[in-house]
C-alpha cells in the first residue's frame, strides 16, 4: 500500500528510539490502515511496547516520523493525540467508580455533564457491564476490569485504540473468549486497533494484519495466513507456532522445487525460495500438524520420508502430540488428529515413518 494514501491511519517512517545504550526500536517503518485490527507480535524486549508508547506519546522518537490520521505527532503530548491506550494492567483509577472511570475522558473533553451519563451507559452496555457502574475497580474480577479499561478508552471514540497485552492478565479460558469478543467489538465500532502481544495465537486469531518484531526491528508484516504459511525468516517460523527444522545445504534447484542435502538423513525437498544458490546453507521447516506418522514405508503420495523413533506420545484430547527422534538425533514434534481411534496410536519406543508433502515445507536461508 502507498503510505501516503488517505487510507492510512498510522504511518511510521524510519522511527528509532534508544533507551540508554540499547536500541529499543530500530528504523521502524510501517503503515497501519484505517479500521484494521493490527497486531504487533514479538518476544519481550522486541521493542513492541516501546512502539506502542511512541504512538501514545509517552515517549518521543530519537529520529524518524510518526503520522496519525494525517497529522505529524512530533511534539504532540499524549493528552492531545487522537488515540487511547488500554494499559497492560488496565491502570484503572482505584478511587473512582466504574462510571467515573469511564466518564473521565469525556469530562476532559469538556462534554456537558448531562451528556456524559448516556455515553457512559452506552459504553458500559457495549462491554456488557451495565449494572456495575457504581462498583470500585477493586470489587471487579480481572475480566471485568479489562472490560472497564476498554469502555474507558472506547467511549472517547478515538481514531486509534492501542492495546498493550490486553489479555495477558486473564486466565486461559477467559482469554479465548475475549479474543473473539475483542475482534467482534473492533468490527462493530470500526476503529483502528493496534494490539501489542507476545502470544502468537492471540495475534493470529484477532488481527487482520500483523507485524513480527525482534530486537527492535520489523522482521515481517502481513496477514496471519501469509506469516503462518510463508515465514520470511527462521525466527518468524519458530516464533509463530512451533516449527520443526532441518539444517542442510542446497543440492539442486529445479524450478519450483529445491533439493536439500541434510547430514545424517539424506535428501529432502522443499518449495524453492528466491535468492538461493547451490551450496547455500538453508533451513527446511515444517509445522507439526503437517507431518504424518505411519508404520507403512510406502511413500503413498508423500515426497519426503524419514525413519524415526517415537520418543514420547502425549494424549491431548482431540490430538496426539508426538516427540520423534530423527536419525541425526534431532527431535521433532508431530501432531496427529485422534479421530481414528486408539488402534493407530503410536507408543514411546516404537519405530515409525515420518512423511510430508514437499509443498507443506518452507525453505529459509540460514
Amino acid at each position: 500500500m502507498d503510505e501516503t494514501s488517505t487510507d492510512a491511519s498510522i504511518v511510521m517512517r524510519e522511527v528509532t528510539k534508544r533507551h540508554g545504550d540499547t536500541v529499543a526500536v530500530d528504523r521502524l517503518s510501517l503503515t497501519i490502515r484505517k479500521g484494521e485490527f493490527f497486531a504487533i507480535l514479538g518476544p519481550s524486549g522486541s521493542g513492541k511496547t516501546t512502539t506502542l508508547r511512541l504512538l501514545a506519546g509517552f515517549e518521543q522518537p530519537d529520529s524518524g516520523e510518526i503520522i496519525i490520521e494525517g497529522q505529524p505527532m512530533q511534539g504532540v503530548p499524549p493528552n492531545r493525540r487522537p488515540v487511547n491506550l488500554v494499559f497492560q494492567n488496565y491502570a484503572l483509577f482505584p478511587h473512582m467508580t466504574v462510571a467515573q472511570n469511564v466518564a473521565f475522558g469525556l469530562e476532559m473533553k469538556g462534554l456537558p455533564t448531562p451528556e456524559i451519563g448516556p455515553h457512559v451507559a452506552e459504553a458500559l452496555e457495549m462491554v456488557r457491564l451495565a449494572g456495575k457502574q457504581d462498583r470500585l475497580p477493586s470489587q471487579l474480577s480481572g475480566g471485568e476490569q479489562q472490560r472497564v479499561a476498554l469502555a474507558r478508552a472506547l467511549v472517547n471514540r478515538p481514531a486509534v485504540l492501542l492495546l498493550d497485552e490486553p489479555l495477558g492478565a486473564l486466565d486461559k479460558q477467559l482469554r479465548l473468549e475475549m479474543e473473539v469478543e475483542l475482534k467482534a467489538l473492533q468490527e462493530r465500532v470500526g476503529i483502528t486497533f493496534v494490539c501489542v502481544t507476545h502470544d502468537q495465537e492471540e495475534a493470529l486469531t484477532m488481527s487482520d494484519r500483523l507485524a513480527v518484531m525482534h530486537h527492535g526491528r520489523l522482521l515481517q508484516i502481513g496477514t496471519p495466513e501469509e506469516i503462518y504459511t510463508a515465514p520470511a525468516s527462521a525466527f518468524v517460523a519458530s516464533f509463530i507456532g512451533v516449527s520443526n527444522s532441518l539444517p542442510g545445504r542446497v543440492q539442486a534447484i529445479d524450478g519450483q522445487r529445491t533439493t536439500v542435502a541434510v547430514e545424517g538423513i539424506g535428501l529432502v525437498h522443499a518449495p524453492s525460495c528466491t535468492g538461493l544458490r547451490t551450496g547455500a546453507p538453508v533451513l527446511v521447516t515444517i509445522r507439526p500438524e503437517r507431518l504424518h506418522l505411519s508404520r507403512d514405508p510406502a511413500t503413498d503420495g508423500y515426497q519426503n520420508q524419514i525413519a524415526v523413533r517415537v520418543a514420547k506420545a502425549i494424549y491431548s484430547g482431540n490430538e496426539m502430540h508426538y516427540l520423534v527422534t530423527l536419525p541425526n538425533n534431532l527431535t521433532w514434534k508431530a501432531r496427529v488428529p485422534n479421530a481414528d481411534g486408539t488402534a493407530k496410536r503410536f507408543h514411546a519406543g516404537e519405530s515409525a515413518y515420518l512423511k510430508w508433502r514437499t509443498a507443506e515445507a518452507v525453505l529459509l536461508p540460514e
Binding site: 503530548p77 499524549p78 491506550l85 494499559f87 494492567n89 473521565f104 475522558g105 476532559m108 472517547n156
Partner: protein, 254 residues
C-alpha cells in the same frame, strides 16, 4: 526458645521503663496534695486551675498558631518536594536527598542555636514568625519523606492513563495523584503538627517575648516549683500527642 522469651521480657522491660514515668506523671496530676510526692486522694483541682491560668491559655494559643501555620507551610513544601524527587529526576538529586535528611539527624540544639544566630544576623526580631519559620524548616523534610514513600507505591501508569484520556499534567495530578496521596499527606500533616506542638529546644531558641509555647511554659513553671499543675498540663500534652500520632498511623494505613 529460652533466648526468645528472654528477648520478649527485655522488650517489655523497655516499654515499662519508657511508660512508667509517664504513667506516674499522669496519676499524680489527679493528686489532691500540693506536694506531688505523696498521694492524698483523687482531685480534678489542677485541671480546673489550668483553664483559669491566663498565661497558660495564651501559651496554648501560641502553640496552636505555630503548629498550624508551620504544618500548612511544611505540608505544601513537603508535597512539592516529594513529587519532584519521585517524578522529576534532576541533577544532584542524591546530594539533595542527603541534605534533606540533615535536619532530622543533626542535634536539635545546633539547629536552635544556628537559627537564633541567623535571625539575629538578618535582624529579624524573635517572635511567633521566627518560630513558625524554624518549625516549618524542621517539619518539611518529615512531610517530604512520608509523602514520597506513599508516592513511590503509586503506579505511575495511573498518571499516564489520565493524560492519555486527555488530562493536562496538572489536571492529572489534581484528579488522580493527589486523591490517592491524600492518606499519606494527612498522616504526614498530623505528624508534623505533633512534632511542632511537642518541640522544646528549637522553640526555646527562636521564641521571642510573648511568643511562649506550651513546652516552654512547662519548663518555666518547673523553674519555680514542681506543682501538680505541671503534671496536669503535661498529661494533656502527652494524651493529645499520642492521639494525633495514633490518628496519623491509622489514616496512613488506609
Amino acid at each position: 526458645m529460652k533466648t526468645r522469651s528472654w528477648l520478649v521480657a527485655a522488650s517489655f522491660a523497655d516499654l515499662l521503663f519508657l511508660y512508667l514515668p509517664i504513667a506516674i506523671l499522669v496519676v499524680f496530676s489527679f493528686n489532691a496534695s500540693k506536694l506531688s510526692a505523696r498521694w492524698q486522694g483523687f482531685s480534678l483541682e489542677w485541671y480546673a486551675k489550668l483553664f483559669t491560668d491566663q498565661a497558660l491559655l495564651s501559651a496554648t494559643v501560641n502553640s496552636l498558631i505555630v503548629a498550624t501555620v508551620s504544618t500548612v507551610l511544611a505540608g505544601a513544601l513537603g508535597v512539592l518536594t516529594a513529587v519532584a524527587l519521585e517524578r522529576q529526576p534532576f541533577r544532584w538529586q542524591g546530594a539533595f536527598e542527603v541534605l534533606l535528611l540533615m535536619p532530622i539527624v543533626i542535634p536539635e540544639i545546633m539547629m536552635g542555636v544556628a537559627m537564633l544566630l541567623f535571625f539575629v544576623m538578618i535582624k529579624l526580631p524573635l517572635s511567633l514568625l521566627t518560630m513558625i519559620i524554624a518549625h516549618t524548616i524542621f517539619n518539611f523534610p518529615v512531610v517530604a519523606l512520608i509523602v514520597r514513600a506513599r508516592l513511590r507505591k503509586l503506579d505511575p501508569r495511573l498518571e499516564e492513563a489520565a493524560s492519555d484520556l486527555g488530562a493536562t499534567p496538572w489536571v492529572a495530578f489534581k484528579r488522580v495523584t493527589l486523591p490517592l496521596l491524600m492518606p499519606g499527606i494527612v498522616g504526614a500533616l498530623l505528624m508534623a503538627f505533633t512534632l511542632s506542638l511537642d518541640d522544646f529546644i528549637i522553640s526555646f531558641f527562636t521564641a521571642g517575648v510573648g511568643s511562649t509555647t506550651l513546652p516552654i511554659k512547662v519548663y518555666g513553671m518547673l523553674k519555680s516549683a514542681v506543682t501538680p499543675e505541671v503534671n496536669a498540663l503535661s498529661a494533656i500534652l502527652v494524651l493529645v500527642s499520642m492521639g494525633l500520632v495514633a490518628v496519623a498511623t491509622w489514616v496512613q494505613r488506609k
